[in-house]
């Protein structure tokens, strides 16, 4: 078991982290490159920067969601807080990051981390229930959508039990291994699934805006390419 744990937190973690970082950097880079290319081609290059910044901020702070679906909004906030803070600030994880993080890096002690874990799990359960109980969400859901939520729920639960072996219903070392494998899988899946929105999120409003900034010659070029420039309607 210990060999497996060493592998999971050693080379497997490094490989997963590399896939995650390179993957999201690639995705982010491609998006920025595409945005730049689209902007260069746009017939009207003026962008309503103020509006884009405002809508991006409004959207990153989901005030509208709180107004319309307060329970879901709270659940979403709780889950995102846990998912974003725990990997980087829980003291046990900071140790795992080795020398990568500076010595002054803040560490969350066990108590607050537990609270955050429970809050995130509660949020995940609400989101999972919403996905299964609300008709439109259920209709749209694919196995992967539910799978990601279950993976994150498993990650949080196994993390708690790994940190509190006495309360674990399963063998504590097994929990540690499951937690590490689930964490590595989440890292690998980040650039490959919709989790990638964690880095692309700030660009979405800009992409939406640029999408409507058509290249000046686009219509004419398409007409020529389709040999329709002289074709009657």
């Amino acid at each position: 078991m210990d060999t497996w744990i060493d592998l999971a937190k050693g080379s497997l973690f490094r490989i997963s982290l590399a896939i995650c970082l390179l993957g999201v950097a690639y995705r982010f880079g491609v998006a920025v490159w595409q945005i730049n290319a689209a902007h260069r081609r746009a017939g009207d290059k003026r962008l309503p920067v103020g509006v884009i910044v405002r809508t991006t901020v409004q959207w990153l702070l989901p005030l509208r969601l709180f107004r319309k679906r307060p329970i879901y909004g709270l659940a979403s906030l709780a889950f995102h807080l846990g998912i974003l803070l725990l990997p980087f600030f829980y003291a046990g994880h900071v140790n795992l990051w080795g020398g990568v993080l500076p010595t002054w890096w803040p560490r969350l002690a066990s108590g607050p981390s537990d609270v955050l874990t429970f809050v995130a799990m509660a949020g995940l359960i609400v989101i999972l229930l919403a996905r299964l109980l609300i008709k439109s969400s259920r209709d749209l859901s694919r196995a992967g959508d539910v799978g990601i939520l279950l993976l994150l729920l498993g990650l949080a639960a196994s993390g708690y039990w790994a940190a509190h072996p006495t309360s674990s219903p399963f063998a504590p070392r097994t929990m540690v291994l499951i937690h590490m494998l689930a964490g590595n899988l989440a890292l690998i899946l980040t650039p490959l699934t919709k989790i990638v929105h964690c880095v692309l999120a700030p660009l979405t409003q800009l992409i939406g805006e640029i999408g409507w900034h058509f290249p000046a010659e686009s219509g004419r070029r398409v007409a020529v390419a389709l040999a329709k420039e002289n074709e009657p309607i």
Partner: protein, 460 residues
């Protein structure tokens, strides 16, 4: 296989439809910025269903096909399968999705159940603009011949026909209408107005929705009264006097041609700015796509008549009598001018001034509900029941809750649709434009006022 849709299609070539669809898709991707949008949407679609709550169509039907995310997925699936590395790879590994006639038929139907109102964008946690995906899907469909006949016929007349407008009104008939309106305004309102035709070097060239000449005399008289009262330099061109642009609803290349024609008419007459009448899509087409297709920063300025009227009223040049309209009035925000927050407050301020009892619909402004006739669907008569009873139900409910006797809908399309929605939902409500009410409230300068005796004297 013959393609069956709930709207009429013109005769079309159905041979090798999937291959032709993919050829067009590929061509469009190479010459436009849509790949960026499709890539982002494909990677980040949450499939959470939040958009469903916002869509007026889904709220009524409850059908999975009407969830915005599901509809977008129709095109995204084709994009991923045929235009991405991952999709190709998955196909080799056993993904069985293949584009066929039935799938294209489903797209042709479903993309016209969406009114492209873009309300769902407000709610998408990942910022996907489903209206833009509908817009692109309709363009691809159009290039293989799948566009409602009503839209094609109107656009054909506008771009290839003799009249150069969607209603087929010859220029002499438009001039006659203007003369008739001038006389009518004297008779009905005691006001002298003028519609200047083909005047050179005017400040503004005016493009209302051409259907206003046939259906909305009070709106046009109100427009002309404001221009006259404020001493505006403006004109209507006889080569092109139609602001309607169905290109916005189904083809970027036609959208380009229509706005380019507007600019050509502006140049022919040496006008400086483009003034669009009370029409949401005509305003957005010109405002956004004249800069896109006709010179970027150097393109002529575009304003909507409500912006003009409001600015003149605020500056004191235009006087409006307060509390003239005694009935309860509510305001419908046309999606094309309100969703982006472009024009929401100007008409409200005016209405609050001239109406005794102005009430808001809820939700409103950027969050408004589409009338149900957006995206050109208002022109498709054969889907009226769907338009009014499904797409327009949210609007009917909103209007009913206000208890209003008058709905102001400053858009030719919305006006027609709201009137039909009220009719089909048995609401006894008058639908009109903003300038229809301004015409009743205008505190006209002396030179515009024709006393009955003067009038009779003139006639004698």
């Amino acid at each position: 296989m013959a393609i069956a849709t709930s709207y009429y299609l013109e005769d079309m070539d159905t041979r090798e439809l999937p291959r032709r669809f993919l050829d067009v898709f590929s061509t469009i991707l190479s010459h436009t910025n849509y790949a960026l949008v499709l890539d982002a949407a494909s990677r980040m679609k949450a499939r959470c269903g939040r958009c469903a709550d916002t869509c007026p169509v889904y709220q009524v039907t409850g059908e999975q096909r009407d969830i915005p995310c599901e509809r977008s997925e129709l095109l995204l699936q084709v994009y991923r399968r045929y235009f991405t590395f991952g999709g190709n790879l998955r196909a080799r590994l056993g993904d069985t999705f293949v584009l066929d006639d039935a799938y294209i038929e489903r797209m042709a139907e479903d993309y016209y159940r969406c009114t492209a109102c873009r309300r769902c964008k407000l709610e998408c946690p990942l910022g996907v603009d489903h209206g833009l995906i509908t817009h692109l899907a309709r363009w691809i469909l159009a290039e293989v011949g799948l566009t409602p006949k009503a839209l094609v016929v109107a656009t054909r007349e506008q771009l290839d026909g003799k009249s150069h407008n969607t209603s087929g009104i010859p220029a002499p008939a438009m001039k006659d209408t203007c003369e008739f309106l001038e006389e009518d305004c004297v008779d009905e309102h005691g006001l002298k107005i003028e519609f200047p035709i083909d005047v050179e070097d005017a400040e503004y060239i005016f493009f209302p929705a051409v259907s206003d000449y046939l259906l909305e005399p009070d709106t046009l008289m109100g427009n002309a009264a404001v221009m006259m009262a404020t001493g505006a330099s403006w004109t209507i061109g006889t080569d092109d006097f139609d602001g309607i642009n169905y290109g916005l609803f189904y083809s970027d290349r036609l959208l380009d041609r229509i706005v380019s024609n507007e600019v050509a008419e502006l140049k022919r007459l040496g006008a400086k700015k483009i003034l669009i009448g009370e029409c949401g899509h005509a305003s957005r087409s010109a405002k956004i796509f004249i800069p896109a297709f006709c010179g970027g920063e150097d393109a002529p300025e575009v304003i909507n008549i409500m912006e003009y009227t409001y600015a003149q009223w605020k500056s004191g040049k235009l006087k409006l009598k307060p509390n003239v309209i005694k009935q309860r009035v509510t305001y419908h925000d046309p999606c094309n001018i309100a969703r982006s927050g472009w024009i929401t407050e100007e008409p409200r301020e005016i209405l609050k001034h001239i109406c005794v009892d102005f009430v808001e619909m809820t939700p409103n402004r950027q969050d408004n509900y589409c009338c149900g006739g957006g995206g050109g669907t208002v022109s498709i008569d054969e889907i009226r029941e769907f338009r009014t009873m499904t797409g327009g139900k949210a609007k009917a409910d909103q209007i009913r809750r206000t208890g209003a006797e008058i709905v102001v809908a400053p858009c030719a399309n919305c006006k027609k649709q709201v009137a039909e929605v009220c009719q089909d939902h048995k609401l006894d409500v008058r639908t009109c434009g903003l300038h229809d009410l301004i015409l009743e409230a205008i505190d006209a300068p002396e030179f515009m006022i024709i006393k009955k005796d003067d009038d009779e004297g003139e006639e004698a």
